[in-house]
Symmetry: C2
Subunit: 335 residues, 2 copies
């Protein structure tokens, strides 16, 4: 790896693109794989909405996917994958069936319909075109914070956003995470500024404030978006390892523990928490069991760190009542 | 609730019993329900061994269970439920089928076969009788630490054990957790003494040391029992709420995030991490969605706290090479 970006694109074979509409206050993020890539996933929230997630279990036929979409728009946002499929079809990409190719594009959405943006889009929602635009923008570098699928996102107390992080395991495998943080709970301990993921922070990537020595009962009081306001944290974890589909599902299962490390709370009845996993197959395993264990645990770390980075990098939406950005509240505490 | 024990038995309708064999260096813990109780569960590890877990999904026929068993012994320990079934049958307990009653006793085990104990038990393993003895010992009070199913348990760096904790939600529901900590990874940050669950500690229940302000790369270095040494953290979370079987599964799903909060690492390829959930049905929900969210998140907290308490209260086994107890290493730092 030439230059580490601390983004999921450090995993060879992945480009990421964002698109948003500021008036809509929502957007789309796409992770494009450079070829059909082994993928799986787990839906751990009780209120998910997704598209083409049924093919992700190891007992299903299609092994590879062409892209993964994380978007806003709730159920209306599910059109984003249509735009991604169109972009892929123009490039003759997809699962071959006779002389046709069907692009396989699993997607998850988050609920950002009540964030102050203009949702009066007429007959059809704009997510299809946002999905296409996100593909056009795909690159190795991409913005995090108030960007793409996280443009309109929020946690219970702060502006949410799009996050990403990467790491290299002791075995040399690159691992990364990409996440839209629209969590039902919070990323920060009490009123902040410390992040629940503070023990996992690398190189002051989300402020370098560490952890508080004592967490009082008030600081750990459970706070969540009161039901039935839906919420969701949706993510992709990825590695350059060669994994079969079953081990890619294991990567998703171990990886989703990053939600628990980065959020208080997650996996709830009214969130749609979903974690996709992909293995781009550049680097064979050398010690199968230990490699899989370390890649999974590293993916969990990356996901927790990406969650904190999403909130740390976010800027607030310009609407009345919009939740504040972390840096607006705590930026003065940074050295 | 008259007297809070900070044990899962604070949840009305549950008694817990332990039995162990010191020479075997293993044992059994049983949670006995006072009547057939709605239960579910999730198997999140890649190397589980269990018994009667197939009935736990909401789409299965049997809704209630009579007991849950957490034991040592790996696959041989699965006999423990036989002893529990025998004890229940003598009391005419179980799922009625014609004039028969079949006690329903889901069980999970942990791998403690290489801990120095004498495993030369002859033809049949002793877990059946340990299961029966655990039922005989069942009470509202029970030992944690080196006790019952956690007697022979260990983490990667310290003696493991049996843990438990409880809490009451803002809605008045009592929630508790019971856990055998034989984790593939560690409960402590770096070399210790701080617990990963330190931000969730109530009333100095595991030493009151809080959190370190900074966690260095060395302190968060991933350490695990090298594959293929199996490991497992197995748990029961419970509430006195009236939940149907589907919401009890949701309790298990949200509750298992406690593994991620208390352990570094969990949900791995070679652990058998399993979390059962039970709802003893004493207190109806008043605000269904928010109650379920808070009960689940509180169960996760209780599970993370119970994991730390298991290690905090453990005493070391007397065998050469046995992993040290937390208090042996760090007890002098307690005030």
């Amino acid at each position: 790896m030439s230059e580490r970006r601390n983004l999921i694109t450090d995993v060879a074979g992945i480009h990421v693109g964002n698109a948003h509409n500021a008036r809509l206050a929502s957007g789309v993020t796409v992770a494009l794989f450079d070829q059909q890539t082994v993928a799986s996933g787990v839906v751990v929230g009780g209120a998910p909405a997704g598209r083409d997630t049924g093919c992700l279990d190891p007992d299903r036929f299609v092994e590879g996917v062409d892209a993964v979409v994380l978007s806003g728009g709730s159920g209306f946002g599910l059109d984003a994958a249509t735009g991604v499929q169109a972009w892929l079809r123009e490039r003759k990409r997809g699962f071959p069936v006779g002389n046709m190719r069907v692009p396989v594009v699993p997607q998850a959405i988050c609920f950002d319909l009540l964030n102050g943006g203009d949702k009066d889009w007429g007959r059809y929602p704009p997510y299809r075109e946002l999905g296409y635009a996100a593909c056009e923008a795909a690159d190795l570098s991409f913005a995090i914070g108030t960007a793409g699928g996280g443009y309109g996102a929020a946690t219970v107390d702060l502006k949410g956003g799009l996050g990403s992080a990467s790491a290299v395991t002791s075995g040399g495998f690159t691992v990364g995470a990409l996440v839209v943080v629209n969590a039902i709970g919070s990323t920060v301990i009490g009123e902040g500024p410390h992040f629940w993921a503070g023990g996992l922070e690398e190189d002051s990537e989300f402020g370098g404030l560490g952890l508080p020595t004592k967490v009082s009962p008030e600081m750990r009081r459970l706070r969540w978006k009161g039901a039935p306001e839906p919420a969701t944290t949706i993510a992709l974890v990825a590695t350059d390892a060669v994994l079969d589909k079953a081990m890619t599902k294991r990567l998703a299962i171990t990886g989703q523990t990053g939600l628990a490390k980065g959020l208080r709370l997650s996996h709830a009845l009214t969130d749609g928490d979903t974690v996709f996993a992909a293995a781009t197959g550049r680097r064979p395993l050398t010690d199968r069991n230990n490699d899989v264990i370390e890649i999974g645990a590293t993916a969990a770390d990356c996901l927790a760190r990406a969650i904190a980075r999403a909130v740390y990098e976010a800027t607030a939406l310009p609407f009345p009542g919009a939740r504040p950005a972390w840096k607006d509240k705590f930026g003065s505490q940074l050295r």
